[in-house]
């Protein structure tokens, strides 16, 4: 065989391989499943199960975007171009309103046989009936829930004979006591998110909500309460409880520093539990406690609801099949699997008390009331703008680039149109 024939044979082989269809009747669903924080590894396992029980359906998982903002940017580009290459999308809880208003996601009522959307969503935790139902249409179904919790070093609190604090003032006092006692200049009392990332929106809202205030479309920002909230965080820095460069701290920094044993109290999302307890790098295994977030003096404890939703792209060519997959991914079985294997919070109340789930996540008894009473960030189709302004301004205030009063004025002015 000379070189020419050999080349031709090879080329023919390649062409014939490429031309073989993946079984004639297969539907191929392309799914954007988020980044590592959405545990695409676990999602893939669930997809494998689904492929087994649904012959004829192949699922291609596409992952990317380490943060909610990056994923939103990516999806905005794909969906803005009306690209049909994605069938199913994972969305942060803050996005369905905007995506539905833009005509990017398909209402699911017809596919799920929904008559009354609120009634249909009542099987899930209450927050999702707000986030995923728009104009009486179910536009997304929840994958897993999330909320912010107070993680603490059980060993240190026991050593100093103190209980988990219930107010931010308590937390400062307890931290100072432990920090002084430990004589370790690298030990931070409290780590929270001050960098201009999505988490900083919650940082801004947590002490604000705790004073009984809300910030939604048509509900004006209470400036005094917002300033109080920022002052509370700055007080933590002044007392040396939080570190000076808190305006640089992102979600992952808090996780890593707590894991390394450099932090007494950490504010973070539910998924962090799994990392603290099972990550090879974690030096705090077995010493981690979880509590409700503390309240402002005289206020209510409150937390920020998060979580991820599955939606069908309005540009998908396989909407019926896509809707079936979304329904499966939002089922109690998947919820249970995700909470056991990734400590991802269930979206069904009764899964929290499932013995198999509680064995891995003993703190879920505490988590359920927290998640059920958690508050939503502003629900608006212009959320991207709201988020950008709030996180940039909050971070600038924490960096002491501007005073809390000026920060709050700026947020109120910039968002007056978007929040009207």
């Amino acid at each position: 065989m000379n070189t020419c024939t050999r080349f031709l044979t090879l080329a023919a082989a390649v062409v014939s391989l490429a031309a073989v269809p993946p079984a004639l009747a297969d539907t191929v669903l392309r799914v954007f499943a988020g980044g590592p924080q959405q545990r695409t590894d676990l999602t893939r396992k669930m997809f494998d199960e689904y492929e087994k029980s649904h012959p004829g359906v192949k699922i291609n998982l596409e992952s990317g975007g380490a943060t909610s903002e990056l994923q939103r940017q990516y999806l905005s580009t794909v969906l803005g171009a009306k690209d049909s290459s994605l069938d199913v999308l994972i969305l942060d809880i803050i996005n369905p309103a905007q995506y539905y208003a833009a005509g990017w996601i398909e209402p699911l009522n017809g596919y799920l046989g929904v008559k009354d959307a609120k009634a249909y969503m009542s099987k899930y935790l209450p927050a999702y009936a707000t986030a995923d139902v728009i104009d009486g249409k179910v536009v997304a179904l929840p994958d897993f829930a999330d909320a912010m919790f107070l993680y603490y070093r059980k060993d240190l609190l026991d050593k100093y004979g103190v209980r988990p604090p219930t107010t931010w003032n308590d937390l400062a006092t307890v931290s100072e006591k432990i920090q002084q006692g430990e004589k370790n200049p690298n030990l931070q009392g409290l780590s929270f998110q001050g960098a201009p990332i999505e988490g900083a929106v919650c940082t801004f809202l947590l002490p604000y909500w705790s004073q009984g205030k809300d910030y939604q479309k048509g509900v004006k920002l209470d400036k005094k309460a917002a300033v109080n909230g920022l002052d509370m965080w700055l007080g933590m820095v002044d007392k040396g409880v939080a570190k000076k460069n808190i305006a640089e701290v992102k979600t992952g920094d808090t996780v890593n520093e707590f894991m390394a044993g450099h932090v007494v109290f950490a504010i973070n999302w539910g998924f962090a539990w799994d990392l603290f307890q099972t990550d090879a790098k974690s030096k705090v295994k077995g010493n981690v406690g979880v509590a409700k977030l503390p309240a402002m003096q005289g206020g209510q404890p409150v937390t920020c609801i998060g979580g991820w939703q599955w939606s069908v792209s309005a540009f998908s060519k396989n909407k019926a099949e896509a809707a079936k997959l979304v329904q499966f991914m939002s089922s109690p079985d998947v919820s249970k699997y995700l909470s056991i294997n990734g400590s991802l919070l269930p979206v069904y109340a009764n899964v929290y008390s499932d013995p198999a789930v509680l064995k891995v996540n003993p703190w879920y008894g505490l988590a359920l009331p927290v998640v059920e009473s958690a508050k939503s960030r502003p629900v608006t189709e212009r959320y991207a703008e709201v988020s950008d302004v709030v996180r940039t301004q909050t971070s600038a205030a924490l960096a002491r680039v501007q005073k809390p009063e000026a920060t709050v004025d700026e947020i109120d002015n910039r968002l007056s149109r978007a929040m009207r």
Partner: protein, 298 residues
Amino acid sequence: MIARVRGVERFADPGERTLAALLLAPAAVLLALIVVYPIGKLVYNAFFDLRLSGGQHAPFVGFDNFASALQDGIFWNAVWVTVSITIISTIGALLVGLALALLANLPYRIQWPVRLALLLPWAMPLAFAGLIFAWFFNTDYGVVNDWLMRIGIAPRSWLLSPGTAYAAVCITLVWKSASFIALILLAGLQMIPRSLYEAAEVDGATRLQQFREVTLPLLVPSIVVALIFRTIAGLQTFDIPYTMTKGGPAHATQTLAMLIHDTTIDYGDIGYGSALAVLMFLLSMVVTALYLRRIQRD
């Protein structure tokens, strides 16, 4: 019959002008598709309240988008940041680039390590440079603070205060762009005939005088080219501040390109973002026109 033959002949042997038009047509069509159409569409969009999140209807709003931009403090801040960063980084990069070029032009026996060192920062993607320098300036883990602490100076949060964040971005831009300028200037230096220096030496000129009287005047054309390239690139600054500071703290390092990106990609506000882009386009045109006039005069 005769007419038809003539027609065929004309087709087979077109005049020079027809031939030129035929040969240029593909390129012209291509340019129209990838340059003229997008720019035209951008200008068109700037007159509508077009939002990705606003459903299908986009009302015509005339010059409203431009008016809001001109009344917006954040827009003017971005213009100021863009222009000042361009001026500072261009001057900085020119000085550093000139020094590097002179260094690389010295008659070393082995030249490749110097040339390679010149090429590397230029070849590195902008976003990499931004991320690397963001780590250098990191409060807790950065080398800059490590050096300061070794010589007994208190560490600081470089990227958290407006002044130092701005300086850090400028330093990174100078580092990144100096090598490109150095390459252009090095080419210019090598064009200067040795004989001129020999003549200057015979006349008793010192090294400094040689530099001032021979090197600099003959290098001016290269310097102008380098300045034009750097200024235009400077006005488009995006990657480095985006990866280092995201425009923060507050808006201290937010350039026009970043503001346009935030408005269109993050907020989905295509109409307003297009108006901002048109304004930025005008700014670039003015600067380029100034340079072109200067070149024509020379």
